[in-house]
């Protein structure tokens, strides 16, 4: 019980100390707001510009959410395909790797040129950025099946579909969720990076656009406020996925089983 509180309070305390230090340094050294705004000013800007920023937040979150959904559906689909046949995996996996190792900033301009609808282009970029961990983790998971259970399924004449649905997919869940945590962060980064690349040719509405605009106008407090929203979204996304993982695995998987008091 005591350690539970500590686990929560310790990082909060570090954050509070950091903010105080930041504020003190800015005030004591009289740093102008267009170089480093004080945390208080950032917070005031966040409240003052909420109308503008909240709209952008929704746009960025929509792109991230759509990309993550696409990454999960396509990624799990591809993984299922991979475990059906080694040849399919051998022929497709190298291209998934190529997609992963090519920097997103390098291919995003092409995608933005090729795809007319800017929102769709951003979703594609963010999907490309986040699909790889879903594919690799789910594939490993689908293969990590208890050989005894596989024998049991065979003995009772299970079909491929039955083995997939009742054995391979549940076995892969812990691996999938580990991949999903990474993918969620990558989807957000992908959405932001893609919008940066798209610049004024983009949707003119996401948080990255606000950062670009604020930078050009030297509205540094707003830039900071938008940055805070991106970071906050990332944390919320991570916590959301962690919660999902806990709900799905808490009855059976070691990683999420509640510790005995």
């Amino acid at each position: 019980m005591k350690t539970d509180w500590l686990r929560f309070l310790a990082p909060v305390a570090v954050g509070a100390i950091f903010l105080l230090l930041w504020h003190a340094l800015v005030v004591l050294n009289d740093v102008p707001a267009y170089i480093v705004p004080s945390p208080l000013l950032v917070f005031r800007t966040l409240v003052h510009d909420w109308g503008l920023l909240s709209g952008s937040l929704v746009v960025t979150l929509q792109v991230t959410g759509a990309a993550l959904l696409a990454a999960v559906v396509l990624g799990v689909g591809l993984s299922v395909l991979f475990v059906q046949n080694r040849i399919i995996e051998a022929s497709l996996l190298p291209y998934a790797v190529i997609l992963q190792v090519t920097p997103l900033v390098a291919i995003a301009p092409l995608i933005i040129i090729w795809v007319d609808e800017p929102r769709t282009a951003l979703v594609i970029c963010a999907t490309v950025a986040s699909i790889f961990p879903v594919i690799t983790n789910t594939t490993i998971g689908l293969r990590s099946v208890d050989p005894g259970l596989l024998d049991l399924f065979r003995m009772h004449g299970a079909t491929r579909a039955q083995t997939l649905l009742r054995l391979r997919l549940p076995s892969s869940a812990p691996y999938f969720f580990a991949g999903l945590r990474v993918a969620a962060a990558l989807a957000l980064i992908g959405a932001v990076v893609a919008e940066f690349v798209a610049g004024t040719g983009g949707t003119r509405s996401g948080l990255a656009y606000q950062i670009l605009q604020a930078g050009l106008q030297l509205n540094i407090p707003r830039l900071f406020a938008a940055l805070m929203l991106i970071t906050g979204s990332g944390i919320a996304l991570f916590l959301g996925v962690s919660l999902l993982s806990r709900l799905a695995l808490r009855r059976w998987h070691e990683s999420e089983v509640p510790k005995e008091p």
Binding site: G148, L152, F153, M155, H156, R166, L167, A173, W252
Partner: protein, 243 residues
């Protein structure tokens, strides 16, 4: 029948064996003597390189029950769903399946644990779930591959006793692979001693003691002399293989 693995390892030299209905046959031998391979051949999990396996029509009609070395349960499903698995795979109607599951759990003494998850049970209880799953299709033949090998001796003795009673009550035919001479002596109506590399049946011992057996059998003259006999047979089998 004979079994040679694709890497050239001769797992089983030509082995000929016939088992009558209602027998409790234990197979005992050093590791690598092909005991598990023999079970997998009978279960149809692998095919013989030469020869054939003939099963009576009653055995073929009901699925064969197989109990593995470890409980081999699906950790994400509760006890009930684990035991129901073979029926689900055969598309048995739900109500009928649930009735059979209740019955199977009752037979292994776990009827109050239907909604537990495997990790919430002890090793011995997990093994009972595994046996219930093997019984749920009402098999006539039960194949058991060192099922209690990983359990402590107290739990193992208890499960051996319960298994002995269960098999006698239901007239099951059992093929039971074990490393333990004492377990084989306690359970069997017939014991096969195998030798390794290549695997073959070295001796075939009939046990004319009534079944089911209880704890007092463990201290009986018959038990001690049987264990000594199997032990000697195993020793010569291993010597023969080594030379």
């Amino acid at each position: 029948m004979q079994k040679v693995f694709s890497n050239g390892t001769k797992a089983l030299d030509p082995v000929s064996l016939s088992i009558r209905e209602g027998e409790f046959v234990s197979i005992i031998g050093p590791s690598g003597c092909g005991k598990s391979t023999l079970l997998r051949l009978i279960a149809g999990l692998t095919n013989p390189s030469a020869g054939s396996i003939r099963l009576s029509s009653e055995v073929r009609e009901a699925a064969i029950g197989f109990v593995f070395q470890s409980p081999t349960l699906m950790p994400w499903s509760n006890v009930q769903a684990n035991v129901r698995l073979p029926l689900d795979l055969l598309h048995t109607p739900r109500a009928e399946a649930d009735e059979k599951v209740r019955n199977a759990l009752d037979r292994v003494g776990l009827k109050d644990f239907a909604h537990f998850h495997p990790r919430e049970l002890s090793g011995g209880m997990q093994m009972r779930v595994s046996i219930a799953r093997a019984l749920v299709t009402s098999p006539r033949l039960l194949l058991m591959d060192e099922p209690f090998g990983a359990l402590d001796e107290i739990t193992r003795n208890r499960l051996d006793r319960d298994l002995s009673a269960l098999c006698e009550r239901e007239g099951l035919t059992v093929l039971f692979v074990t490393h333990s001479i004492y377990e084989a002596s306690f359970l069997s109506s017939r014991a096969l001693v195998m030798s390794a590399r290549p695997g073959r049946i070295y001796s075939d011992v009939n046990v004319d003691e009534s079944r089911p057996r209880n704890e007092s059998f463990r201290s009986s003259e018959a038990f001690t002399s049987l264990a000594a006999r199997l032990s000697a047979s195993l020793a010569t089998a291993m010597e023969a293989a080594a030379s």
